[in-house]
């Protein structure tokens, strides 16, 4: 397929995934900030939300204070923020138009009809009250689910599908790693754990932003323990948003591309390297090495994979 088409599919999937992630982050932050101050401590959760979205510095070029109003606006509706939900949806629609021939009509319909629907929100300059905001956030998440679902159910299993899956999993891994990066200080190993009720709500917030709160209980059948949360998000292959799961998928998709094209390359090797490291890691070692350092390294490796894939296939 055309390199440009593959590139568009890859980014289209990333934009949709990112929009959903932003919606989840805002959602989770709203919940945690709605708690009485005694339950969440002094950290500014809106600042954390900006950091997990990777726009901590850029935000302050436009706003003085990271409060609900400003952060919601910046992450959701701002034109100035190239990664706002609005810009993600706009970019996704633009990419979809460019690669319409590679999309199934169901996928196009999802993006296009959501885009049409959201024009009303943009025109108003955002959502008026919390209820509208909640509805909007839900709508964005549903759009991503529909898009993913229609891709899964209607696309031919060929390179077009695999490149779009690469986008999904690379973006997802990046998002999960960012949450971990911002919240690593509340994720402590068992022996150091001294957390009180303050941390408890931080933990649920983390799990909520990757929609894993229920999954946690099914996997561990335990009350929330920070080291288990770290284990779930980093190493547990059964959780779709864990780093391990993202990398199982990335390796598989890259292998499928390699087989179809009769050639493996740097992308396959690099992805396999990361996957192997995740597979052979234990939380104890990661804690010993430092969660922060581990995640920093992972983020760099992950974005390096994006560059390699681009060089190998997309230009």
């Amino acid at each position: 397929m055309l390199s440009r088409t593959a590139e568009n599919l890859f980014w289209l999937a990333r934009y949709v995934e990112r929009a959903e992630y932003l919606a989840r982050t805002i959602d989770a932050t709203l919940r945690v900030t709605a708690l009485p101050a005694a339950y969440i401590g002094k950290t500014n959760e809106w600042d954390s939300a900006l950091l997990t979205a990777g726009v901590g510095a850029a935000f302050y070029e436009h706003y003085e204070e990271a409060n609900e109003r400003n952060v919601v606006e910046y992450l959701s509706f701002s034109d100035a923020n190239s990664s706002s939900i609005k810009n993600c949806i706009e970019a996704a629609r633009l990419n979809s138009r460019s690669v319409r021939t590679a999309l199934t009509s169901e996928m196009w319909d999802t993006i296009n009809s959501s885009w049409i629907e959201l024009q009303a929100v943009w025109t108003k300059g955002g959502t008026g009250n919390r209820e509208e905001l909640a509805k909007f956030l839900r709508f964005v998440q549903e759009t991503s689910l529909r898009f993913d679902g229609s891709a899964y159910r209607t696309m031919l299993r060929n390179d077009a599908y695999w490149f779009s899956r690469l986008g999904v999993h690379l973006e997802r891994a990046d998002n999960t790693a960012r949450i971990l990066d911002v919240k690593y200080h509340v994720l402590l190993p068992e022996e150091e754990h001294v957390g009180g009720p303050l941390d408890y709500y931080q933990w649920t917030s983390i799990l909520r932003s990757v929609s894993a709160l229920t999954a946690y209980h099914w996997v561990y059948r335990e009350t929330l323990k920070p080291w288990l949360i770290a284990d779930l998000l980093i190493l547990n292959d059964t959780l779709p948003r864990s780093l391990a799961s993202c990398y199982s998928n990335l390796v598989r998709n890259l292998d499928q591309i390699g087989v179809a094209y009769g050639r493996q390359g740097a992308a396959q090797r690099h992805a396999r390297g990361i996957r192997n490291r995740l597979e052979h890691s234990h939380m104890d070692d990661i804690f010993q090495h430092g969660v922060h350092e581990f995640i920093q390294e992972f983020l760099a490796d992950n974005s390096r994979l994006g560059e390699i894939v681009t060089k190998q296939y997309l230009v």
């Binding site: 397929m1 055309l2 390199s3 440009r4 088409t5 593959a6 633009l94 138009r97 460019s98 319409r100 021939t101 009509s105 196009w108 319909d109 296009n112 009809s113 049409i116 390179d159 490149f163 591309i257 094209y261 296939y313 997309l314 230009v315």
Partner: protein, 472 residues
């Protein structure tokens, strides 16, 4: 202006036979049901994303072409005549192009003045002596047809460059079949759905000799900001070929390749929806970012076929148009089946003085204009506009032609005040491959939605209708 011939009710109000069933159906159908279906159709168009862009109109970057749910119907007998005339016309266009870029018999026979060719900016000297596979220049033609009476089809314009609109022929039909299944059941409407297959086989049939046994065809678009982008992606999808932009293509050793995820892949036939000027910055406009450097040298080497060929603009130029009846007679020794609109060539002093004296009754068009831009419709224009045009004409008479204001036929159309006659034209699409010429029975009917308006162009408030060709 005289009362126009109505496709349904003729001149005297007698229901024409092709419309009998539709008329009966319209009487049975409550008006609000029609309105409901119209809204449903609009929603479908919007969701499918069948939009077009109007240049210079940033407010409405993507607009819908209004769709009218009342079909335009043509009987089998009428179609047979039209089809014959269209084939004749397109054959003559192709023979004319070959002659102009090779032997130039028609110039030596003094049928067309030389300067009209050689001074014409759409004449491409690069094509002199250049052979094209099977001598086909115009693989896809869109011939604009109007009617003023029940007996004649008149060509208003030949489109031999990159005619658009065929996606509407196909999508209008899809939507009509979804909305009005019972109306279809009551008619025998010839299907249009094989158009993409016919187009693909025509394109493959003109692959260069150096192509592989299974030639690779690609559709080249200027990109998503082009007004017809939807159509480009629609056709590429239906044909199952890659939709490429200039930056996806690269020329090496006079061969054209596309950049794919598996490396470079040779392209044999390019169905290009990019104008000549923008094809190759090395040959044409150096500032064009849409094109492919070296494409013309690969073309000259015969390693890639462009459809349509480069330089076809010389055949659909409005100044050449007036010579079409002579062109048909010269190459085919036949009488033209399709008539021309009487055309005054402002470059000729006699015609110019007539035009200047009768501006208020004439339609004046720029020779190189299209899309309904830069046109004067005398009867509808203000005095000031007419005077401004008079100056333009005097300054540059060779840039214009003039035609009488024709009463284009009308067809019943949904309006805010119920069904009313609105003026229509018709663009059938003629495909020419190595072995035969095909016209899928149908076309794009454009309708001027404003009462009394004669301008059917979508950029000027025109809409479209489904076009039904009835089977015997």
């Amino acid at each position: 202006m005289a009362v126009a011939f109505d496709e349904m009710n003729g001149l005297g109000g007698d229901l024409r036979s092709a419309y009998q069933e539709l008329s009966r159906w319209l009487k049975e159908t409550p008006p609000d049901a029609l309105e409901y279906r119209r809204q449903e159709a609009e929603l479908l168009f919007r969701r499918i994303g069948i939009t077009f862009a109007v240049y210079g109109d940033s407010e409405a970057q993507e607009r819908l072409i209004p769709f009218d749910v009342i079909p335009r119907i043509i009987s089998a007998k009428e179609w047979t005549l039209l089809e014959k005339g269209l084939k004749q016309r397109v054959l003559a266009l192709n023979m004319f192009l070959k002659d102009i870029y090779h032997g130039r018999d028609i110039l030596r026979a003094n049928i067309i003045p030389e300067d009209l060719i050689f001074q014409n900016p759409v004449f491409r000297p690069e094509m002199n002596g250049q052979d094209v596979p099977h001598d086909i220049y115009v693989h896809i033609a869109g011939i604009d047809i109007i009617r003023t009476d029940p007996d004649n089809f008149i060509v208003l314009e030949d489109n031999a460059r990159t005619p658009s609109g065929v996606s509407y022929m196909l999508e209008n039909r899809e939507i009509m079949m979804r909305l009005f299944p019972d109306l279809f059941a009551r008619h025998r409407v010839a299907p249009v759905e094989r158009y993409p297959d016919e187009l693909l086989s025509a394109l493959r049939s003109v692959a260069p000799h150096s192509a592989a046994a299974e030639p690779t065809v690609a559709l080249m678009t200027p990109g998503i900001y082009n007004s017809a982008y939807y159509e480009h992606s629609f056709l590429a999808d239906k044909l199952g070929i890659e939709l490429v932009e200039g930056r996806d293509l690269i020329v090496k050793n006079d061969e054209v390749f596309m950049r794919t995820t598996e490396g470079l892949k040779r392209v044999d036939v390019i169905y290009r929806r990019v104008d000549d000027d923008f094809l190759d910055p090395l040959t044409f406009r150096p500032d064009s970012a849409l094109g492919v450097p070296g494409l013309m040298s690969a073309y000259a080497a015969g390693n890639v076929t462009l459809a349509n060929a480069v330089g076809t603009g010389i055949a659909d130029d409005k100044a050449i148009y007036s010579y079409m009846p002579d062109i048909v007679k010269f190459y085919l020794s036949e009488e033209p089946i399709l008539k021309n609109v009487q055309t005054f060539r402002c470059r000729e002093p006699q015609d110019l003085s007539y035009v200047l004296d009768n501006l208020a009754d004439l339609v004046v068009k720029e020779v190189h204009g299209s899309g309904g831009y830069g046109m004067l419709i005398g009867p509808a224009a203000t005095k000031a506009t007419i005077e401004a045009f008079r100056d333009k004409l005097k300054r540059e008479p060779e840039g214009f032609i003039a035609q009488p204001t024709l009463a284009l036929s009308t067809c019943p159309t949904c309006t805010a005040k119920g069904l009313a006659p609105r003026h229509v034209d018709l663009r059938p699409f003629v495909l020419t491959g190595s072995t035969h010429t095909t016209i899928v029975p149908g076309g794009l009917t454009r309708v001027a939605l404003k009462e009394g308006s004669l301008v059917v162009n979508s950029s000027q408030g025109g809409g479209t209708k489904d076009t039904w060709i009835l089977s015997e």
